[in-house]
Point group: C2
Chain length 400, copies 2
């Protein structure tokens, strides 16, 4: 028997993550990488972890080292509900499922909603991990164009009409409303309402992925989809960008009938999220780790974003046709090169010049757009940002 005869159709369709493979290249010494999406280790609340761990081991090792409920630690579900209520969302702990970070939220969404061949709406571009999760169940993500204000409602409506006409009604609309990965753009309230109206008309669920929402550096906070339409929105959160990624902790919040099904699915997936790290996180949140940590994280990333923007201005202002987004928060911005250029084609040269990014094509459902690149500004140091953008400028100018 051939090896591929052993695998399921969905497995035979799987590819290694482009970014994961790229990251191996970018790990070479001397390379300044804007490619990853890593938080800066300086933002990790190490003291809070230390204090919380001691308490957990001392006082609750019998439960923290044992199996736990699939839904998650009841105290932590309440902590997460509080974070959401402070953000203007009327929700309670029983609408919350704790997940092994938000990537598991995406996996569960794909598992419970997508039959093979089913379409779903995503941004074009959108988060690569979302595309991977949907495709791993043989779902077919269909991209809707973004502009500087996020997903374009008219394009969304067009796409839905077209798909319904082809009898390929999408199963849900996947949106990253705040500081989108990869484009860095945020959807303003008025446009959120337009999108909601379109979704309501067709009875569509919205999957709101919001890992960066707490990381706003400028501008006005916009209301979440969850706060505007809790009956039709499932929201995915993670502590990876606001506290630390190493615990793999996140949560999903939405209508009971969806969260219930996710709990059932999760029972077969990993029984429960680690109770140990849930207990630690609860203790950290009670001690104020989030408020304290966010303050310094926002300060640091805000400075790095500002620096990267001013370096880009210096380096690229005189090159016609180069543009970039000015994110009000998050970890990424999106640089677009002049018509005819390809960020994939010049990637090798960039590596030779010892600077790395992610070619934009990775973020398109059909990998069919080559002019853009994603730049991360949270991980590299200030000196690296200045030097890296210079190297990037050199590569681009050589290819014009």
């Amino acid at each position: 028997m051939n090896r591929q005869d052993y695998f399921s159709d969905r497995a035979n369709g799987m590819k290694r993550s482009v970014i994961r493979e790229l990251l191996k290249l970018t790990a070479k010494p001397g390379i300044i990488s804007f490619a990853g999406g890593l938080p800066a280790p300086a933002t990790f609340p190490v003291d809070y972890v230390e204090a919380a761990v001691d308490g957990v081991i001392e006082e609750e090792h019998e439960t923290a080292l044992q199996y736990g409920p699939t839904e998650g630690d009841a105290r932590l579900r309440e902590d997460f509900a509080i974070i959401m209520r402070k953000d203007g969302i009327k929700t309670t702990a029983d609408h919350i499922l704790i997940t092994t970070a938000s990537q598991q939220g995406l996996d569960l969404v794909a598992k419970i909603f997508l039959n093979p061949g089913d379409t779903c709406i995503t941004g074009s571009p959108t988060y690569l991990g979302g595309l991977q999760a949907f495709k791993s169940y043989q779902g077919v993500p269909v991209g809707v164009e973004l502009d500087d204000r996020g997903m374009i409602p008219e394009k969304l409506e067009e796409t839905i009409v077209r798909l319904e006409g082809e009898n390929r009604k999408p199963r849900f609309i996947y949106i990253i409303p705040d500081f989108q990965n990869p484009a860095g753009v945020t959807i303003p309230e008025s446009r959120r309402r337009q999108i909601l109206d379109i979704a309501r008309k067709g009875e569509y669920l919205i999957i709101e992925d919001t890992p960066y929402r707490q990381l706003r550096y400028s501008g006005q906070s916009q209301p979440t989809f969850q706060s505007m339409a809790p009956e039709m929105v499932l929201s995915l959160y993670t502590i990876s960008k606001i506290l630390l990624p190493g615990f793999r902790l996140g949560w999903a919040c939405g209508p009971d009938w969806i969260v219930d099904k996710m709990v059932m699915a999760k029972q077969a997936v990993d029984l429960c999220t680690p109770p140990f790290t849930q207990a630690i996180t609860h203790a950290m949140l009670v001690n104020g780790a989030l408020e304290k940590g966010l303050e310094t994280t926002i300060q640091l990333y805000s400075n790095r974003r500002k620096l990267m923007l001013s370096c880009l201005e210096k380096e690229f202002a005189e090159i016609e046709g180069v543009s970039w987004t000015k994110p009000e928060g998050g970890l990424f911005l999106w640089l677009t090169l002049p018509e005819g250029m390809s960020t994939e084609e010049i990637f090798e040269q960039a590596i030779e010049e010892k600077v790395a990014y992610v070619p934009g094509s990775a973020f398109y459902p059909n990998n069919d757009n080559f002019r853009s690149m994603r730049l991360n500004f949270s991980y590299a140091s200030e000196e690296q940002i200045c030097e890296g953008v210079k190297r990037l400028g050199k590569v681009v100018r050589k290819n014009i």
Copy 2:
């Protein structure tokens, strides 16, 4: 739109875990529960956790609190390879994928091997979490009868011939060779070789699930399937029963081409297993937590097993038609009632008498066998074991 119209076919087929629902009943005060599969908290190596955590936070928080590689922490993969080599398996770290406990191993197996409608072979009875994982991808587990020496090779061959004849060739053979959950039985070497021969003839993969292997209280260790046929066996391990479950840590070991595909699948499932708990586990293993911990765990469980067996002997010896397995290790034994009785039917009476077990039907692919119950002997205290078995005897005698 109806709610079920939103869900995928696989989601509409999902049910809540019978055991999880039962466990809620058994959590009532005063109930002695043999229902769960929990390790005794007294076995948790709390001191080792404490020492390891301090070192990790002190010396490697930058990596332990960050994202990590999908394959897992390279040091821990080597630690796990060492555990396997000590057990007579010639393997190396690069054949190992660290999973979010072995339930994730089962989920990944189902994901990469099972198309909807595909059959796979399991024991009858078998681990409920395996059945759930396979069914959650619309796989169709087909049970093969066990006796006191585990899966019966003749029955396996019969089943395979029948399925092949129906053009429903199974995708793999799922086996728990040591101290099987739920039956407590172990397959002797000669029978393992017979099963391997059958698998080889039909070019079948064997999924060897081995969470309890290190917990042997009597008798001779039998060689693993992995050691006998590494080219056709994927083995799933977990630290849940030998160290602690609260980290949700396990591993899969097998041929490169399978492990590679599991890595790809895992990228979309949760990116990586928590680096924090991996780093702690590595430090614990280096410090000898496993050797030290196993000594006391084996002592404790061995005593409890012996006690439960002698209580059963006292309580049930004179009731004709009652039998039970005498496991050489693990956490469970399997009690079978006389013809015509149903452990499901008397379950409510048992709860009234304040003793709980899992009705055996939960462990059969078609839930069609009602005479047996699973009894856990790792969690209840010595006093509870004696009193619980007495209560059980009372319920059974009332129904004869």
